[in-house]
Amino acid sequence: MISFRSLKPYFCAHKDSGTGLFKHLFDYRRMWKLAVGFSVMFALVPVLCAGIFDFMVTKTSMEGELFQRTARVVSNTRRSVTFFMAKHRSALKFIVRSNSFEDLSKSLQLYRYLEDLQVTFQEGFTDLGVINGAGIQVAYAGPFKLEGMDYSGQQWFKEVLLHGVYVSDVFLGYRQVPHLVIAVRHKLQDGSVYVLHATVNTVRLNSVLTDLQLTKHGSVFIINRNGILQTESRYYGKVMERMTLPVPKYSTKTQVKEVTSDDGKQLIVGYAYIENTPFILLVVKPKDDLMGPWYSTRTTLLAFLSISIMAVIIVIFSVITHLINKIHMADDKRLAAMHKLEYENKMASIGRLAAGVAHEINNPLSIINEKAGLIQDMFLLKGMYAKDEKLLSLVDWILKAVERCGTITMRLLSFARHIDVSIEQVNMKELLDEVLGLFNKESEYRGITINMDVESDVPVIESDRGKLQQIFLNLVNNAFAAIKQDGILDIRVEGQNPTFISIIVADNGCGIPQENLDRIFEPFYSTKKKEGGTGLGLSITSSLVHKLGGTLEVDSKIGKGTTFYIKLPLKSKNKKMEKL
């Protein structure tokens, strides 16, 4: 499983400790944040804008279509209801026009018409009655005995006389069946009027409405102007009950509105006032039902948008992190090269200085050597003061000191000379002796024991003496820094392999923690920055070993010490560098 730490960009650990030319070119974390921020913004803002715009347009168009569809349903249903009323009204008008008042006043004739109407309108008509101008029912055909009833004081009778036509609210009759009354006025030639009224069963009207195939939770029904249900409604009450929704405002045209129900549902309500009746036709549809397809489209759209945004963000993150990592690595390499150059320049300067000093010292040293030598010669060869042991031993000491000085100047010159790459035959034992010679005094002062074990059959290798000196100087320096008082430094050289020799440099110092061990060869990685460490020693050592075609490995345990394993090829592959 990939942990978050492994995804962390390389440059996150970036710390700029250098100054001036030795500083990284950019603040990589800030650069990364800006690059990611701007890229994400410029990539996503247009996508989001387009997405939101498309979302709104589609939603508006869906809602528009929904309103239009509802309006169409309302209009068509209104036509059906109007037609239903007109059909019944026309039947009554036909009867009054085609018969005389006298004929209709005969109950037998009226019963015949009722029978015809019932056959024609499939049981729609329940009764028929004729009322004279004074409001007295002169004839009646139906299930009740209503002949002679006086309707003169009834409001509906007054209305029919006034308007010529009257349609009543729905009422539950004797058998609890919803009915309505339709009445028409007819003027006789003598100016008198009479009224033909019929009770109509609204079951047929109900079936007109229920025949409409609406959505699952949709409902079509009729209310009167007081909000009392005139037809059955699936969700908003039974006949004669008060509808839970508010009564819509009067309008001559079909209207569609969005209404919030008592339980908080969004409803699309289409309505139309039916002309010449007290009825209002309502089509009510829950918005969520109708918007279902839109919601599924919306979910798909949002999912697609989210996936796209995620993909864009992942790509931007990966690409920018990768690029900045590369730039950071290039910057690191540039800095390492600059440090290396500085280091080499420093070495060259030290080398030149050492060479100058050594040469200048060599001359007076030679004079001392010869003068002391002559004194010795005079004692030994000429026999002067030959018995003065004290003087002889003094001269001996002078000559020994001169020899020691000579060895030191020779070493200095040897280091100074190997600044450039040059391949030559190197005896590893001689080389290590030379390097360790520089640490003789320090090891004596600090009581450090140096054990050198060189196998007898170690061959001479083809390599760069100067670079090897630097490598072992660095390693021994590091070991001396890690070793406490009275520590041990073991150096072992093995030469059994036909292609390479192994050199093992082991100290019993403080050791390196595991978390630092992976990074010790990285340039600028130092745990001793406060003490002036540059973090370049082991990095340069490692690069020198690789340059010579070898390998450098490390093993360390806290408190036990550190061991470096160096393998160097017997033959140099770098023939071009050879000078000799």
Partner: protein
Amino acid sequence: MKVLLVDDEEQMVSTLAERLSLRGFEVSWAITGLDALAKVEIDTFNVAVLDMKMPLMSGLELKNKLQAKCPAMKFIFLTGHGSKADFKSAALDIGKEYYLIKPLNIDVLVQKLREVIAI
């Protein structure tokens, strides 16, 4: 056996000459190339011990000039500049490695002189 010592350090070359004399060599010394060439004009030497680095004329230049005058003369070089490798690279055309590093060990010089003469 006649030996010519040439080194710009007079104190060193004069003392060395005296020490070699004590060991039975016939020694002349000079502190410049020109001085050495003048000595060769009036005397014959078997071996010349030359310092590599001298003002006006280096040891190698002097060697070429001396060799032109006395083809039989053998040469030993002295250097204050460290190791064999360095010396070798500068004196490739000598043919054989007759070199010594300053400060000198008189016994080594004597041994080398004998070796040179023996060839």
